[in-house]
């Protein structure tokens, strides 16, 4: 097992990793930017190193600085968390070349799955159902995109080949929209990923986002830990996730789980990963992409399977084989995660500031992952995710009741949060019935979005 692990991240996930290390008896090194010198992860870790100025590209994305910190402070492993460098193949490779164990898959798997058109080709060949879309290496020009769209039929989803996090993604309902939105999405992709390559997918109305958690050791034991329904999204960003998915039957779970395991196994994947599917209203499912890292919403799976995914990822990286088999994976009850953002719930604008009166909820089946504390200033430089509330109960109805009670208890002063939006969703009859698809949140968007001159019109609809 590792002796000292550097956590190359910040916020809630950095704390999650530090806790796992503590249980495993591993020393931790936190890294931070000058904007984060008062951050909780810095206080919690055994050692901490300032790695650069506030801008992420100079600190949390600064590979030489992070590696230098790891080597200087004598770490033997690096956990990238999610976001930042977690899906950067060059970083994973640079770690290995510096003699540091990267807690995650091998660099080639990160690169393979990061190239979405290539991942689609491999999955198709492996017999994993893939959405109809652009063939080959993707498209860069509007006329090629138009040819693909004609073949697929509108509406289509324009996506970035190097995509992630909903960036460079647009729905086009007709040729006019495609001509207008393709260059916009391409520019977004160029800015975010430095790539002009795009691809198209058939856009399925009323479909659900259902993803499967994968665990794979270095001896090619691959298993899944069930699904998460992440259909409550705002602008392709997840807001609420739950497990199990309310419409999935045991038979469907087995079928999709097998496909997810095959997707990971066919490339020889190792460590934690998530295979994302689109589940159509007719019960057909299609591979969208694979995320080669721990997810924000991993806690939901942890609650229903009683598995510590972060500890598993560290153990696998240290070369340990999986301690259990697929048939030993059991599912208990229902879990839901509510992402709490420092944002104005009406205007959807970030709301940085100094936190006061922070009283997270507690009680049976209530878990809060947060980096907040009284007097903490939420910085403007990073993602506004400040807390995750995860509830776990025997049934979905009980989980909803528990979530309502917990959110009511949750006090945060000094900044605005999206807790009021979560409360609205928890009282929505369609949500309560479990009958919703990825465009669900558009019903709460339309009115304020139109009055708001800053935010562009809702496009998640």
């Amino acid at each position: 097992m590792f002796k000292k692990l550097l956590v190359a991240n910040r916020g809630t996930i950095a704390i999650r990793i530090i806790r796992a290390c503590r249980e495993l008896g591993i020393q931790t090194v936190a890294v931070f930017s000058t904007a984060d010198k008062d951050a909780l992860h810095v206080r919690m870790a055994d050692e901490s190193v300032c790695i650069g100025p506030p801008a992420a590209e100079d600190s949390y994305l600064n590979i030489p600085s992070i590696l230098s910190a790891a080597l200087t402070y004598g770490a033997d492993a690096i956990h990238p968390g999610y976001g930042f460098l977690s899906e950067n193949g060059d970083f994973a490779e640079a770690c290995q070349r510096s003699g540091l164990q990267f807690v995650g898959p091998r660099a080639r798997h990160i690169r393979l799955m990061g190239d979405k058109p290539r991942a689609r080709r491999i999955m198709k060949r492996a017999g994993v159902p893939v959405l109809p879309g652009s063939e080959g290496k993707g498209v860069t020009e509007v006329r090629d995109a138009f040819a693909d769209a004609k073949r697929l039929g509108f509406p289509v989803l324009i996506k970035a080949a190097a995509g992630g996090g909903g960036k460079g993604m647009r729905v086009a309902r007709n040729a006019k929209e495609l001509v207008r939105l393709f260059p916009v999405a391409r520019a977004e992709s160029e800015a975010a990923f430095g790539s002009r390559t795009m691809y198209l997918e058939k856009y399925l109305e009323n479909s659900r986002h259902v993803e499967f958690q994968i665990l794979a050791d270095n001896e090619r034991h691959v298993l899944h830990l069930g699904e998460r329904n992440c259909s409550i999204q705002r602008r392709h960003q997840k807001v609420i996730e739950e497990s199990p998915c309310p419409v999935l039957t045991a038979r469907m779970r087995e079928k999709m789980g097998k496909a997810a395991v095959r997707a990971a196994d066919v490339v020889g994947y190792s460590n934690v990963g998530t295979v994302e599917f689109l589940l159509a209203p007719d019960g057909e499912f299609y591979f969208i992409e694979m995320n080669t890292r721990i997810q924000v919403e991993h806690g939901v799976t942890e609650m229903v399977t009683a598995t510590d995914l972060v500890k598993e990822s560290i153990r696998i990286a240290a070369g340990e084989p999986l301690g259990f088999k697929q048939r030993q994976v059991t599912f208990n009850g229902n879990a839901m995660e509510f992402r709490i953002y420092a944002e104005d719930p009406e205007r959807h604008l970030p709301s940085p500031g100094v936190v006061s009166n922070h009283h997270p909820p507690g009680g049976l089946g209530v878990r809060v992952e947060t980096a907040l504390y009284d007097g903490y200033r939420v910085p403007v430089h990073y993602d506004p995710l400040i807390a995750k509330l995860i509830v776990h109960a025997d049934t979905r109805d009980l989980a909803i009741a528990r979530a309502r009670a917990a959110l009511r208890e949750y006090l945060i002063d000094g900044i605005k949060t999206n807790i009021p939006l979560h409360m609205k969703i928890l009282h929505d009859p369609d949500f309560i019935r479990g009958s919703f698809s990825t465009n669900f949140l558009s019903r709460y968007e339309r009115a304020p979005a139109h009055e708001d001159p800053v935010a562009p019109a809702a496009k998640a609809s």
């Binding site: 000058t34 190193v49 300032c50 790695i51 100025p53 030489p64 600085s65 230098s68 080597l71 200087t72």
Partner: protein, 165 residues
């Protein structure tokens, strides 16, 4: 050597930013050392006078800047350092290991009291097995060295204090 001559030598050292000066002639040997942390000439003959560096100028500067003091935080918890208006903190531009000399057996680039020219190497930070020379940001005198040789330093950590002028 007469006191007048020694005074002249001190002025010369100050003007040219010398830390240490040793002169030998028919009349004998004199060794002059500026600064407080510099090694003492213990064990040398009594005939060799040891003359403290002239500091009135610096003291004057400090006193004059008393109303415009700034502080710099130190990471070891030893409390903030007070800075005079003409003093600047040299911060580490990267994470790495701090070295005061180019190699273990070489002399340090600078000592406390050393005069430096802008752009002159003052230390090395080893990051990813690369030796990065850190240059003086301004001409002046190194008044304090805050980082320990061969110890880790982080981004923005105060390494030295330079008195500009």
């Amino acid at each position: 050597m007469e006191a007048r001559e020694i005074k002249a030598l001190i002025a010369l050292m100050h003007d040219h930013g010398l830390v240490e000066l040793e002169i030998e002639d028919k009349k004998g040997k004199v060794r002059l050392v500026r600064g407080t942390a510099a090694p003492t000439a213990a064990g040398e003959s009594n005939s060799v006078p040891r003359v403290a560096a002239p500091v009135p100028k610096a003291q004057k500067g400090r006193a004059a800047a008393a109303s415009a003091k700034s502080t710099v935080a130190t990471r070891d918890g030893s409390g903030p350092l007070e800075l005079a208006a003409n003093q600047k903190v040299i911060e580490s531009p990267m994470v790495g290991t701090f070295y005061r000399a180019a190699s273990p057996d070489a002399a340090p680039f600078v000592e406390e009291g050393s005069s430096v020219r802008k752009g002159q190497p003052i230390c090395i930070i080893e990051a990813m097995k690369m030796m990065n020379e850190i240059e003086a940001p301004a001409s002046g005198r190194i008044v304090k060295i805050l980082a320990e040789n061969a110890q880790p330093v982080e981004y923005g950590q105060a390494l030295m204090i330079v008195e500009v002028g």
